[in-house]
């Protein structure tokens, strides 16, 4: 652990990643204190001050109904992060169980589970989430469900591949020889060896979930107004390019900063934990 911390802080790229993530998380958590106009997270209108370019006190300008963009971006971060964490908290366990079972038990279990995985992976991720969102009401909870539905197969494939390799290893055979149960072998012997890869992927994915969720809301299939969301902010501003550039550029860069941070850290973790994809 100490070695990992030393490596992270010695590597400028991963250090940048940690700083970016810290910035995003802190600004999301403390949005109530940092945001100059906390009330602007909701349905507020200030027509006297609408569509203004960045100038004090609206450092990122104001939107089409006069709300402070900077404040809205901070609150949007909060929703994005919650969404990312919830999606992974749901998708990863499902993927792990499916992957372990398919890889270790094999046979018909493997066929059914991995072909199901293939089916999910055969629909371009965004399209799958879109079609789910299309038939459901566009709410935050449904958005999480849609993204979760497209996310678990990646983990089942990852865990499946590692399990296939690990189950031939000596320590698994040894555990089988002393009569350990299947559950014990799957979760206590094999799973710990999948963890480095899973943790690495989760770090990277936290960024990608935010990215995909913003894509959904960009298309109007995600979080609905007046809840602040980075993707729908870009979508609303897109028709006012180039004159009202701040409407799209700042929310867009906000997505970039958050995802970039998680990617930098994920890359560093991959090097430290020695986990391949």
């Amino acid at each position: 652990m100490r070695r990992s911390l030393a490596i992270i802080s010695a590597n400028p790229m991963s250090l940048t990643g940690v700083i970016l993530i810290a910035l995003v998380v802190v600004s999301a958590a403390l949005a109530d204190f940092i945001a100059p106009f906390p009330a602007h997270r909701g349905a507020v209108v200030d027509f006297a001050n609408f569509n203004q370019p960045p100038k004090w006190p609206n450092i990122m300008g104001t939107d089409l109904v006069g709300r402070d963009l900077f404040s809205r971006i901070l609150y949007a971060y909060r929703i994005s992060l919650i969404l990312g964490v919830v999606v992974l908290a749901l998708a990863v366990p499902v993927g792990i169980v499916a992957g372990l079972a398919a890889g270790y038990i094999g046979g018909r279990t493997q066929f059914v589970l991995m072909r199901t995985t293939d089916v999910f992976l055969s629909i371009p991720p965004l399209v799958l989430a879109m079609s789910i969102m299309g038939v459901l009401e566009p709410t935050l909870a449904n958005g999480m469900m849609a993204v979760t539905a497209m996310w678990w197969p990646w983990y089942s494939r990852l865990v499946f591949n590692i399990t296939l390799a690990e189950k031939e290893e000596g320590y698994v055979l040894a555990a089988e020889l002393i009569g350990a149960s299947r559950l014990h072998i799957m979760f206590r012997e094999i799973l710990p060896n999948c963890l480095p890869a899973i943790i690495t992927k989760m770090t990277l994915d936290l960024g990608f979930v935010i990215l995909i969720a913003s894509s959904l809301s960009f298309l109007g299939l995600g979080v609905q107004p007046p809840t602040p969301d980075l993707g729908s902010m870009v979508a609303q501003g897109a028709s006012y390019l180039p004159d009202s550039w701040w409407l799209t550029v700042f929310p867009g860069l906000a997505i970039l900063v958050a995802v970039f941070g998680f990617n930098l850290l994920g890359d560093a973790l991959r090097d430290i934990l020695g986990a391949d994809r």
Partner: protein, 341 residues
């Protein structure tokens, strides 16, 4: 060659199986829809009689598995039903909008391969040096933003700030191209209208590049990682012991073996563009499948949703089949029927 045929047959069979699974999944998604699709399609002013008729026509009163049976029967005939939004067969709608999207994706794919792979090679060859750091950061940035953000940034920079490229559309209105394939780049060449071809190319560069950016980043990262792994192999040391120049070792001896594991993932990335194209099309007002897809989703147009997702998934599977074939072609072990461990 025979083993390649066998391999291909196996993959086609699996793809069909998967496609069948996709149809079940999509169908299931479409049927959990809250609200009455017939009522939504006809609008609030329709009479109960009209709604009843449409429900009957769409078999909406039958049990779900019978509905699925009808659906599969029609599908076998190449009939995806009628879109409740456009009142035209879904196949007609898709045939109209798909080529523009495919064209965009293909050009983006060329960018992805043509820019991403060389960057990855360069990065691996100069591992740890300044070039490597620059490429690593750039490719990480590339994958760190959704393509609509890149589309906005590229448009601001290269269409407004530096007006090098057009802002939107597929081609200037001055050109009239007879529709043959639906691919403007192909149709303009068929019509021997090179000015139109140039114009269409000029229009496609920016949206295709925006779509390709994350793919380029991914390709560069993957190629770098696999090349670095290959560099540890004894045959690279052997090539060095024979005094081959480093450039040649990178491009030939290390790249070829590392391309094989990269390809599967690149195939997936390429296919992911089918979804991301929706995002770029919206920004650049590209007349592809995006607007249609989003509209039918928002209108809960069941037949059109199911049809669109099925067609996209089929395209996705075909892309993966092509990748499998390419791998078989590049990897002699598979070509000669000896699967590598």
């Amino acid at each position: 060659m025979r083993s390649v045929c066998k391999l291909l047959a196996g993959r086609v069979a699996i793809s069909l199986l998967v496609l069948a699974g996709v149809s079940v999944l999509v169908f299931a998604i479409a049927r959990i829809i809250p609200g009455d699709p017939a009522r939504i399609a006809l609008g609030p002013n329709a009479t109960a009689e009209q709604v009843r008729k449409l429900r009957e026509q769409l078999h909406l009163d039958e049990p779900v598995w019978i509905q699925y049976g009808f659906f599969v029967r029609d599908l076998a005939k190449g009939d995806l039903g009628v879109s409740l939004y456009t009142n035209r067969p879904v196949t007609t709608d898709i045939a109209q909008f798909l080529p523009a999207t495919l064209e965009l994706i293909l050009v983006a794919g060329i960018f992805m391969i043509g820019i991403g792979l060389p960057l990855g090679i360069l990065s691996a060859r100069y591992r740890g040096r300044a070039v490597d750091h620059v490429i690593r950061i750039a490719s990480l940035l590339g994958v760190s933003a959704p393509s609509f953000v890149w589309a906005v940034i590229l448009m601001l920079l290269f269409a407004f700030f530096l007006p090098l490229f057009p802002i939107a559309g597929r081609i200037s209105t001055d050109y009239e191209i007879a529709r043959a394939t639906g691919f403007l780049l192909v149709d303009s060449l068929l019509a021997a209208n090179f000015a139109a071809f140039g114009n269409a190319l000029w229009h496609i560069v920016l949206p295709a590049f925006a779509l390709a950016l994350s793919g380029i980043g991914q390709a560069a990262r993957l190629t770098r990682a696999n090349m670095i792994e290959t560099y540890e192999k004894p045959f690279i040391e052997m090539a060095r012991s024979y005094g081959f120049p480093e450039k040649r070792i990178a491009r030939r001896y290390a790249f070829r073996p590392s391309l094989i594991p990269s390809l599967t993932i690149l195939g997936l990335d390429f296919a992911a563009m089918l979804g991301n194209a929706f995002l770029v099309e919206a920004i650049f007002a590209w007349p592809g499948l995006s607007r249609y897809g989003v509209t039918v989703i928002l209108r809960k147009d069941l037949n059109a949703i199911v049809g669109t997702v099925l067609i996209i998934s089929a395209a996705f599977l075909i892309a993966n089949l092509v990748v499998d074939l390419l791998i078989a072609f590049l990897n002699p072990r598979i070509r000669y029927g000896q699967e590598s461990k």
